[in-house]
Amino acid sequence: METPVLERGQEKAQTQGVVDCDVHPAFSRPDQLLDYLPERWKTHVRDFAVRTANPLLGTLPYPRMTPGNGMRRDSWPPNGGPPASDLAFLQQQLLDQCNIDYGILQPLAAGSVAFNQELGAALCAALNDWQIDKFAGPEPRLKASICVPQEDARESVAEIDRRVTDRRFVQIAMPPRTLEPCGRRRYWPIYEAAEHYGLPIGLHTSAFGYRPNTPSGWSSFYLEEHYAASNSLQTVLSSMILEGVFEQFPKLKIVLVEGGFSWLPSLVWRLDREWKRMRDEVPHVKRKPSEYVRENFWYTTQPIEEPENNRHLLDILRWIGTGRLMFSTDYPHWDFDDPRFAFKVPLTQAERSAIFRDNAVDLFGLK
């Protein structure tokens, strides 16, 4: 085994601020979201709970290693409350310390995966109000995501229509672990709306879903789950391409969030290889899969892969190109990537600017 070599600090001075594409805001108390629900659903949640595919009500199916369901141990606000629930401390610990000009909020609460579809829609609307009220309203550096109940495409489009004039929302958020492969036509109204409004769709890995996290059933350990989550993003990419989504919506922009990116080159080579010999099965896929990948997909960087020989990451960056990678911290989670130390490989100033700022500024229209 080769000894890892640290190459920190080379050209690390980031004069312009960073864009962080994955910030997780938190509730200051477990029932805070109820404040944003209509009375009918407030009562419902209190009486019957929010039912999801997580087999455990109140505990994660793969419990994390650190308190607060996997938080950075230094991220608990001095004024109390859970990590990332206190705006002032988030501003200080994340935005100021890490020189972050913009942070994209990725709420992780259960709106989009609630079994009760009407409740799910209400929870998504509540999450959208809450993001503005507590975070993106008082702090213009934070940008919100329009959470949608994606299994109900009509209701999702209605929620997008209601929010789209509020420019504090910069993307649509849905989970990658959809009930059916997300290239299927049942989801196309959401893609039509996203393309129409020029809003990217961010698909953030989720802690549980309707289907097992491996093709062989449920894994036993979080160690397995954590990597398997990135597989759900691979399925998003191949399903959307092979179902012909981008032939119908050529300007659609898809962001794959919190899955790393080193799996991408191999997947794209595989897609192209299989398409060459199988294309008669999918005549609606007019172009090589890699062309759609280049035009329609973006990736956030965390949890960045750390090769034993860290220069191997340069090969990956060359194969993907730096035009579609967007830096993210995953604050306040345990596997946070710090913009001052992530990417232990030498990058040119232009590459750094692209990954840490410019790509996201262009994609989300942050000026």
């Binding site: 290239g183 397995e224 990597y227 799996w263 299989e274 034993e308 090969d315």
Partner: protein, 360 residues
């Protein structure tokens, strides 16, 4: 397109090296093939209950991608394999893998009977007719007790060099349920061959079943990577330190990303799996092997060497043609761009180091 003399030089190297092909496919035996190896009860069952074509929905071997037009199974499939592959390449050996519906049968007793009969058929109709051939044995993972029994029954026949299962199974392969199989396999020097394919106990993706066969192909590395993660996390290689697992038809280049992520994640989560004492990447280099076809390689062949450098090991890749599947034309059986210095290890040394029963 190679010139004739280039082609001859290329092909001579396989013979000179004593190349061993780790993945060739006979057709899955039909009912008529298996009847001679079934007892009266099972003969009656497969006949009256119409158990004949045992082909996996996710790996349909009679469809076009699985059958090169000039490599058919018509006539005597063994004669075809000899004429198309074994003779022209001068191979020293080849391992037969039957990727059959036996892996997907629900009835655990029927599965055991079909596995056993398939192994008998392999020994009788293939292994005994060509000394170059070896085979993976089918055992019913649906019925662990019967699987162990089958391994013990076959163990004396050294022409069986591996135990075969699929990339997508009923439970992740690391689970303790399967450990008696691994104990028997380790005892007899049999690696576990994990072959592309699903028994459809679960959807192949986090989002259910796919619309298209091409998606079932594209998704295979998700099966392989999660099986590797399971074998490591559950501690299979701690309990059975001599066991190896071979990823067959996996695509190869998905592996470094898994190694990097698993080693990084393990540093943060190892209190959950205290029996895993070494970095997953190191465990992978010791215990996991991969066959060379198909190969998901970069467009620029100059970069193929880099994808292999990322493994930090020259021991992991084993030569395979995946005969008769349609991945290449002519006999261009090695992925283009493999570094010369590694080829002889891939063709033979790595294979012999992985399969101790070869030659035994």
């Amino acid at each position: 397109m190679s010139t004739m003399s280039e082609t001859h030089t290329k092909m001579a190297r396989f013979e000179t090296a004593g190349a061993i092909d780790c993945d060739v496919h006979p057709p899955t035996p039909r009912r008529a093939d298996l009847i001679p190896y079934l007892d009266d009860y099972w003969q009656e069952i497969v006949t009256s209950r119409e158990v004949d074509v045992l082909e996996l929905m996710g790996y349909p071997e009679r469809t076009r991608p699985y059958m090169r037009p000039d490599w058919t199974w018509s006539g005597d499939p063994l004669a075809q394999m000899q004429k198309n592959l074994l003779d022209p390449l001068g191979l020293e050996g080849a391992i037969l893998n039957v990727v059959s519906g036996a892996h997907a049968l629900f009835d655990p007793y029927l599965a055991a009977a079909i596995c056993r009969a398939t192994n008998d058929w392999l020994a009788d109709k293939w292994l005994s007719r060509d000394r170059r051939l070896r085979a993976s044995m089918l055992v019913p993972f649906q019925n662990v007790e019967a699987a162990v029994e089958e391994i013990e029954r076959r163990a004396e026949d050294k022409r069986f060099v591996q135990v075969l299962t699929l990339a997508m199974t009923e439970l992740p392969l690391g689970r303790r349920t399967y450990w008696p199989i691994y104990e028997a396999a380790e005892k007899h020097g049999l690696p576990i061959g994990i072959h592309a394919g699903s028994n459809f106990r679960h959807a192949p993706s986090h989002s259910g079943f796919h619309s298209f066969l091409i998606e079932d192909h594209v998704v295979q590395p998700q099966g392989f990577s999660t099986q590797v993660a399971s074998l490591i996390s559950e501690g299979v290689f701690v309990k059975y330190p001599k066991l190896k697992a071979v990823m067959i038809e996996s695509g190869v280049t998905w592996m470094p990303a898994l190694m990097w992520r698993m080693s990084k994640d393990w540093r943060g989560t190892r209190i959950e799996v205290p029996w895993v004492k070494d970095a997953p990447a190191d465990i992978i280099r010791r215990h996991i092997r991969m066959t060379s076809q198909p190969f998901d390689g970069p467009d620029d062949v100059e970069d193929v060497a880099k994808t292999l450098d990322h493994l930090l090991s020259d021991d992991m890749l084993l030569f395979s043609s995946d005969y008769p599947h349609w991945h290449f034309e002519g006999l261009d059986v090695l992925p283009e761009g493999l570094p010369e210095a590694k080829v002889n290890k891939i063709l033979r040394d790595n294979v012999l180091a992985t399969y101790p029963r070869f030659g035994g």
